[in-house]
Each structure stands twice: as structure tokens, then as C-alpha cells.
Symmetry: C2
Subunit: 338 residues, 2 copies
């Protein structure tokens, strides 16, 4: 593992691919490799791309990658897909669309699947981003399928989060929009050549105005809860709030990609201009440390409990002899040193 | 709170509504009410309804509720929606479609929103189902918007999980299908009057066949990881595996709803026929106890750590002086009694 890490740093793409597989499969020993590589991270700029199904995220990621390559940046792409024991891995259909990027050594594309664990997806994605970062890619694009809570967590871990919409996707999509708007740094209306694009742009702008800009400073999730962010320091350069721009694109025709890149660059400059980028990174690290602490504490507790304790209490709860919180109190009492 | 719980048991709908709000807002004291009510739960049959946006889940839930009312069952409906600080709550558009159920005392409809916490959504939904259960509803329908991991967790907590598809939703939906198939007990192709319905049914059946049925026994998530389920006991009545049927519906026209109800009843009978239902419930309770134990351990640890410890370590990690796992080791070492 340590040797793989060293080869990754030296630019060996096969070492990168193997370590990505190890992260995905939660292989033992991968933690040591990540610990070694961690000192080499923090250089890549990470852009999360998320949105409802059918918005054309993959085509947009494709177009963005091509545009960044054209200006000399290397690009790592991580596509986080749902998975199924039926198929044994990620669905590769979307990847096929990226065929015109294949053969370019400055681009690395990887689909990542997970095995149904709630926190596992976000964690594996975070570690995979670190691998791409340590491997030296200038830009890492993280594409998530779907609009669930864990996808939101993945997008939040990026520097800049791009939320993709498209005209005419039906009523359900309206609901998703609301949840997605909260995390957007840049909004994209893709498939902007379709009927209804103007209405979609107008609706998004109206929703953005609905939320008073000051509300955005309250949105940072910490320890899995919403908490007010640190108050902006007076005199801080970029104390001004960022209002997400709405960019129209037709990704399959490379239309609007220049404007989109400009919007991403503007957000990056905004973040870098003051304390915002450092604060965002620090908050993400605090969340990660908290998550890891929680997992470690649980693993220790489960190892310390008598093997049958959990199953026995689950049976009592099932029989309604005990309520769940009461059962947890008994588990805590059964831990050594209490 | 305790008084509200008693009024809920006595059939007071306003007490139910208020407790649902308290669960949604994580109000202090709601745990005591839930502890009191817990002994009155375990009677409702819980059906999870999930699927990609645009499949017509709400209309299907509406049609199912009407059909169950027609045969004398009372129905509680919980629609779990994404939320946004912009709008301050759930999007109610879908609810409007359910207008023809309003005014029927045997139906209770509730939209539930959450505030961006990863585990919070699943937990609030579980508690809300318990409230509806304790309030005496025969059937509880839990509708989730989206196809993310936490929605999957919510659906998994149901007795029977219904996954809704629709023809012609584009490529992205294919990817979601794979992740959803794994949790489906019954598959519905809604909007079956649309072109392409036959292909959608055929594709679903092909995907079901791809996965060898025996694989399904390996799919139960435990402690957030996939583990092999308990081996079927020889001679157990329903040791035969359940193959998810594929039902076609046009929910807005009440077409196929009878067949769908029959499929749900068949799955319920299958579960009740042997140890499967009890095992499924016990596994869900074990997962819940583990989740609660983890949250409690973390809360205790954060309270016991010096206030600035986490922030100081996050800064060291940000400066790459320390890797994340190393920082967690220091947090653990700083806990009293170690």
C-alpha cells in the first residue's frame, strides 16, 4: 500500500487506479496509504456537479473537462454512481459518452460505486478525491447521480458546487430544486435549447431572490446539523455574500461552457480572496474528524459489548418490552469502565 | 408531551399533528413521548414508495390510499420531501394532487421536511411512522422523493418497498434503477399508457434475472454495511425467495391499482408466513439501536473534550501537519478515562 502511494505520487496511473479500487472496496491497509498521501493533498481545485436525473450532468462534466484541458489544466473526474448487487458495480452507460476524452493522459475518469452504506459513499468519495489530488490533477470534478442527502454531502465537500437543472422535467423536480438550491454556488440550466428554458431560468432566479441573501450565511452544516456560520469579520475583503449566478448551457454542443468556466473561476477567486476558502476547508475537516470519531467510538463500543447484547436487546424492543432509547441506555451501562 | 402522547392514542388528530411537528423540528422532550407511545406501535403495515423523480409516485400513493380506504383500511401517508432554507419547508405541490382524499377522517396526509442532516431525515421519518402507527392507522405509506442513499434507508425500514419506474425518463434513470432494484419488493411501471412501457417492463425483468435470486439473501444492510442475512432455516415455511413482481399502472386513471394491491398483499402474506417479517423487524431495530448508540457516544465525547480541541486539530490537519486519522487518535487520547 505504502509503495502504491509512492508510485501514485510519482505519477503512476496504474497505482492511482489500484488505490481507487482499494478505497472503493474499503480494503484493509488503505488508511496507511491515505495517511502518507495526505501531505500531498490540498492543491487540486474540487468542483462538485450535482442535480436531478435527466439534466445532462455527464455531458456537462465532459464539456467542462474538454474546456479545462484546452487551457492546459489536468482533470480528474470522479462519477459517483449508485450500485447494485445485481450488476456488481457502477452503470457505465454515462461513461461511454466521455469517449472523446479517452486517450488524453491529462484526464483521468473513474466511476465509483458503493455498497449501500449511508456514510460509506461520502467517505469513499472524499478519499478518492484525495487520491486524485495527490496524483497532481489541477481540477477534480465530482459528479453525483441523484439528489439525496448523501449526494448533497458529497457536493458540499467540494470547493465550488455546481447544480444542474434542465427545462421540462416535471413536478417532482421542482421539489428537488429547493433542496439543491441551498448548496449551489453556480446554477446551470443545461439543455437550454429546449422549450421552457427561459421559464426555468426565471423560476431559479425567483427562488434565489425568495431567500434573503443573509439566510445563506446560516446554511453551513456542522456535525450534521445546521448551524450559523462564523459571523463575517468586519473589513474582511470578501465579506460580501456570493449570489449564485445562473448560466445557460447546451453541453452536447459545447454552448455556454466558456461562460460556465468564467463563473467557476469567479467563485474560485471569490473564495480565495479572503478567509472564505480556508474557513470552508476547515469546516469540512472538522466534520470529517467528527464523523471519524463517531465511527471509531462505535466500533470500540461494539467490540467491548458482550457479543449477544445487541441482539438480545433488539428482541426485547421488538416485543415492546423496552423502547429504543431505553435499550441504548442499557447498552451504555454494559460498556466497561462505566 | 406525555399528555399529547395520551391524546394521540385516544385518537386526537391534532395531537398527532403536533407531535409530528415536534419530531420534524427535533423538539426537546419528544423522546419521552415516543418512549410512551412505543408500546402502542408494531400494528401498522408500512409500505415504502420510492423511485426517480417524474415517475408519478404521489399519484400512485393517492390511488393506493383510495383503494385501501375502499376496502375499509385507515391510511396514514408520510411524504418525505427535501427542504430548503429558501422556502422554509416542504414543497406542497404534490400534496395538492391528493385533494380528493381530504375530508376523509380515515386518511391522514403529512409532508415532512428536514434540515440538511444526513441521518436526521431517516430518523425523523422513522419516528413519524411510529406516531402514525400508534395513532392506529392500518396502513402507513411512506413516499420519498429522490433516489439517494438516505431515501433508500427510509424505504428499507418499511415492511414492503415499492419501487416506481416510468417509461422514457432518460439515461440517468437507468443508473438509478440499478440502485433501487436492490431494495424493491414490488416493482411498478407507472404511466404504463406511455410509449416505451413494454420496453421498461422488459428491461426491469431482465435486470431482475441478471441478479441470481440467491444474491438477494446477501443484501440486508447491517450497521451500514452489507452482510449476509441469516441463513434460511430448513423447513421454514417461506424459505423460498421472493421474486419482485413487475406491475403496470396508470395511477391517474386508477388503472392497475387492484393488481398492485394484490402484489402488496402477496408480499405481506409472504413475510407473515414464516420468520421473515420478524427477522426484518429485528434487523431494523438492531440498526436503529446501533445508530442511536453511535450518536450518543459522539455527543458524550464532544461534551467531554476540551472546547477548542476539535478546532485546533482541524487547523493542524488543514496545514497538513497531521492526517485526519492521526487527528482522531489525538481526540481519543484527550478523552477522560483513557
Amino acid at each position: 500500500m505504502i509503495e502504491l502511494a509512492q508510485r501514485l505520487i510519482a505519477g503512476d496511473r496504474r497505482a492511482l487506479a489500484r488505490l481507487l479500487s482499494h478505497v472503493e472496496n474499503e480494503r484493509e491497509g488503505v488508511e496507511q496509504a491515505l495517511a502518507v498521501l495526505f501531505a500531498h493533498t490540498g492543491r487540486a481545485y474540487v468542483v462538485g456537479v450535482t442535480g436531478a436525473p435527466g439534466t445532462g450532468k455527464s455531458s456537462l462534466v465532459n464539456a467542462l473537462a474538454k474546456a479545462c484541458r484546452a487551457r492546459g489544466q489536468t482533470v480528474g473526474i470522479l462519477a459517483v454512481d449508485p450500485t447494485s448487487p445485481f450488476t456488481g458495480g457502477a452503470i457505465l452507460g454515462d461513461r461511454i459518452r466521455m469517449r472523446d476524452l479517452a486517450g488524453d493522459g491529462g484526464v483521468f475518469i473513474r466511476s465509483m460505486a458503493t455498497r449501500g452504506s449511508l456514510g460509506g459513499l461520502a467517505r469513499a468519495a472524499r478519499d478518492a478525491v484525495r487520491l486524485l489530488d495527490a496524483a497532481g490533477f489541477d481540477l477534480v470534478l465530482v459528479e453525483t447521480v441523484g439528489a439525496g442527502q448523501s449526494e448533497v454531502e458529497i457536493a458540499r465537500a467540494a470547493h465550488t458546487t455546481l447544480v444542474v437543472e434542465a427545462p421540462g422535467l416535471g413536478d417532482d423536480v421542482q421539489a428537488i430544486k429547493a433542496g439543491m438550491l441551498e448548496i449551489a454556488d453556480v446554477l446551470v440550466v443545461n439543455k437550454a435549447d429546449r422549450p421552457g428554458a427561459v421559464n426555468t431560468v426565471r423560476a431559479l432566479k425567483a427562488m434565489l431572490e425568495l431567500g434573503h441573501p443573509a439566510a445563506r450565511s446560516q446554511m453551513i452544516s456542522h456535525h450534521g446539523r445546521l448551524m450559523p456560520a462564523a459571523a463575517p469579520v468586519n473589513g474582511e475583503e470578501n465579506a460580501a455574500l456570493w449570489i449564485p449566478p445562473v448560466v445557460q448551457t447546451v453541453a452536447t454542443e459545447d454552448q455556454g461552457i466558456g461562460e460556465l468556466l468564467a463563473a467557476l473561476d469567479a467563485h474560485r477567486a471569490y473564495l480565495a480572496g479572503g478567509e472564505a476558502l480556508a474557513r470552508r476547508e476547515r469546516e469540512q475537516i472538522a466534520i470529517e474528524l467528527t464523523d471519524r470519531l463517531r465511527d471509531t467510538l462505535l466500533a470500540e463500543a461494539l467490540a467491548a459489548l458482550p457479543p449477544a447484547a445487541l441482539a438480545a436487546l433488539a428482541e426485547q424492543v421488538q416485543a415492546r418490552e423496552l423502547d429504543p432509547q431505553g435499550a441504548v441506555q442499557r447498552l451504555l451501562a454494559a460498556l466497561p469502565g462505566r
